[in-house]
Amino acid sequence: MKLNLLSTLNAERAARRAAIVITNVASGKSRLVKAADVATDQLRALLAERLRTGKSGMADSPDGRVFLTVYVPAPQLVITGAVHISQTLAPIGKLLGYDVTIVDPRTAFASIERFPDVKVIAEWPDKALPPLGIDHYTAFVALTHDPKIDDPALTHALARDCFYIGALGSKKTHGRRVARLKEQGLSDADIARIHAPIGLDIGAVSPAEIAVAIMAEITARLRAEGEADADSAPAPAIARAAS
């Protein structure tokens, strides 16, 4: 492998962009294909499939057997609401390999003491979210119950094509949320992508149990490989080898 290929690869990874290294194991020659260039590559069908599943492995190419090393960004979990559920959801997310960030402009909630080892941003979503690079490899969870905080954050998450978007609230609360978001011009297809009521139905009662239900739903979405759902973003590929 050439050093400049490795440097480019590391730069792509640092910028949270997917890339694939194709190595001809017989000749030792390797090349890098950035995610943005997959569509025009001669191996586009194969590369697109690998990018979707996130699986590295051997494959046949016109030039012989190649090894494809698939690099997809580590998943991140962004939560609005430094609330009771978040106190359990954040450490569970960390255990599952997510970079966790909590956003809550209410400084009384968003204290570092309540959330050790997690990035906590005490700002409004319009200021806090854009620098986070929220993308297809991000799960977004709205937990504040406050439309002033959750609504703009949900809109941002939808625009950034997060692989999972969930919002806390009963069916009634969500009904009001849907009406508000529609008024702001979001389409039915967009709104249908929001998981609400949030979490798998496991009969969760306590905040910690609700956190488990949410994380289970995120995991199910993450691993729903090959699902062709026109209304929702395809599940992203999270590299199993990257942990």
């Binding site: 492998m1 050439k2 050093l3 490795l6 440097s7 690869l9 590391n10 990874r13 190595t23 194991v25 030792g28 390797s30 699986k55 590295s56 492995g57 051997m58 090894f67 090393t69 698939v70 690099y71 580590a74 590299a239 199993r240 080898a241 990257a242 942990s243």
Partner: protein, 127 residues
């Protein structure tokens, strides 16, 4: 996993090596780049195929320098020593190598995977 009494020198060593084993591929590839830019000779080992209960998934990396220092893992500790030895060869020759390790393959390799899996590891020089 072996159990070590807290605070014994063994426990500290175990923790140290575990930290290296658990380094993410991010750190490993960054280390490979930094080591090479710092003037060290570097080889990169990658798990390219696995059969049975292989301990590390396809795509796992181990980076090795010319002095035999390494970071990452391709097997969780079973065959790293042999991979490092081969990597030094690859650094010398510049020619990539495909290595195969498995319990059933005693004739080719003395080092086997205790877990019963077989892995194929590609070792290349970073130039």
């Amino acid at each position: 996993m072996a159990y070590f009494k807290p605070y014994s020198p063994l426990a500290i060593r175990a923790k140290h090596s575990e930290a290296h084993m658990l380094a993410t591929n991010d750190d490993i590839l960054k280390a490979a780049e930094d080591w090479r830019k710092g003037g060290r000779e570097v080889a990169l080992a990658t798990v390219v195929e696995t059969w049975g209960s292989a301990p590390r998934p396809v795509g796992s990396n181990l980076v090795i320098d010319g002095e035999g220092n390494f970071l990452g893992s391709v097997s969780g500790g079973c065959v790293e020593g042999a991979v490092v030895t081969e990597a030094l060869d690859v650094i010398d020759s510049g020619q990539p190598k495909m290595l195969e390790f498995g319990v059933a393959d005693e004739t080719a390799w003395k080092v086997g995977l205790s877990c019963g899996g077989t892995i194929r590891v590609y070792v290349e020089k970073v130039e």
